[in-house]
Symmetry: C2
Subunit: 290 residues, 2 copies
Amino acid sequence: MIILLGGNGYVGGAYREYLQRSGLDFISPGRRELDCANVDQLTDFLRNNAAEFLINAAGYTGKPNVDACEENKADCLLGNALLPGIVGKACAAAEIPWGHVSSGCLYGGRRSDGAGFTEEDPPNFSFRQNNCSFYSGCKALGEEVLENAPRCYIWRLRIPFDEKDGARNYLTKLMRYEKLLDVENSLSHLGEFVHATLQCWQKKLSFGTYNMTNPGSVTTREVVKLIRESGIKQWEPSYFESEADFMKIAAKTPRSSCVLNSAKIIEAGISLTPVKDAIRDSLKNWQPEV
Amino acid sequence: MIILLGGNGYVGGAYREYLQRSGLDFISPGRRELDCANVDQLTDFLRNNAAEFLINAAGYTGKPNVDACEENKADCLLGNALLPGIVGKACAAAEIPWGHVSSGCLYGGRRSDGAGFTEEDPPNFSFRQNNCSFYSGCKALGEEVLENAPRCYIWRLRIPFDEKDGARNYLTKLMRYEKLLDVENSLSHLGEFVHATLQCWQKKLSFGTYNMTNPGSVTTREVVKLIRESGIKQWEPSYFESEADFMKIAAKTPRSSCVLNSAKIIEAGISLTPVKDAIRDSLKNWQPEV
């Protein structure tokens, strides 16, 4: 039995679908059934349901975007910094392995040698660097709390997208904004992410942290070009002159734009489509929102 | 009716005693009666008990000392960073004023102009400076979460001491260590702190942050001298050569040593005894642990 926390969220919904399609037994308790911030309740729930594995897809991301976390710091702290530690304690008490959906937003830019960040590189976009959004700071603390957690996977998702048009899909977001910030990023195809994370458990990969982004990186302009080439939307967005300009006009808190190195998961035998191909595929199979 | 959270702790015990002695009505719910990390439960509790004021003396300090917070990051985050935000939400929902026992440990040293830190100075010993203990980082986040909390006092306690010999009393701690780190600090006499914080509410002082330390500062060597002069203990402690030496031999995480300026509370009409006099008084009235 797999326990899925956060099953009503965007990422959790993708897990739900995948688990159903795969015929894997799972339960995704709602907030009324389980206060997953209560370590004793969660431990009992795991034991009572003979849990074998837990997926923590619960978190607080802020709506419509990460700026909302600046206004809701307590919720952001609870969902992103504290909850992973509570889940870790419950899973240790119930003696089960588990996986935590973390984020690649702990980084900004590229490494000084020009490469993408590996799992060995300490976060450079965090409270400890005093340069980050409250969201990124909390996500980094959440990973820090899990430093010594036994039998735990930390899966770093980064800017999810897929073929389903919708407010949380990066491709949809780009199409809905008139003015964009041109930055370079690694991205995660949500379906591939979900599949790859479950493979970690099923193939008994070593516990620890994995950058779960599709290999490579893209700039905003490149993604816009791919969208235009797909024929889904023809538009000529304008661009902010600079990040400073974007911060001044459109944002409350800095965004993490970063390139991650996902060689560790690839070398462990889990395949992920190169990012530009994954974007092309999503656009080819595009399912417009009704 | 006053609600006291954390009534079983060291600081909470001093509140309990003071409230009893003053004949003020209060309840201090234990963990079995109330999960104060659950905002709905806490809000209901406040409403059901016709609460007029709340004191949050709950927190996680680590035993025997702050090093324990490095090993128990989830508990430290919950007690010190998250809980204040949850309490703030519940008090806002129940429409009552409240006070949070924070800490002066958000600072290190003195201001660059040589003065003590005022409430206007941003913390310089916090995650955002990447120089702090996990405890100090969490305490600073706890204050950050309360930035916009309505009708909230933030009371900064710093290294509590009083006349009651005991493991949590700074004077006792010094007497029990063979080797000390000579640093300069502001300190809080616990009884005076408790009295002064309640005066904030009773005298309807403006909400906001108050450094609640006895005016002035002392070095470790000066406190040792005062103890020797009192006749309570004659010993010749040795001293670490430097903070680096202390960190290497005796500590896991850096200590905040700092001088605070408590002029704001004094100017608001609440008196606090100058720190050296307060230490002398405590030693004069010393009650040895049995």
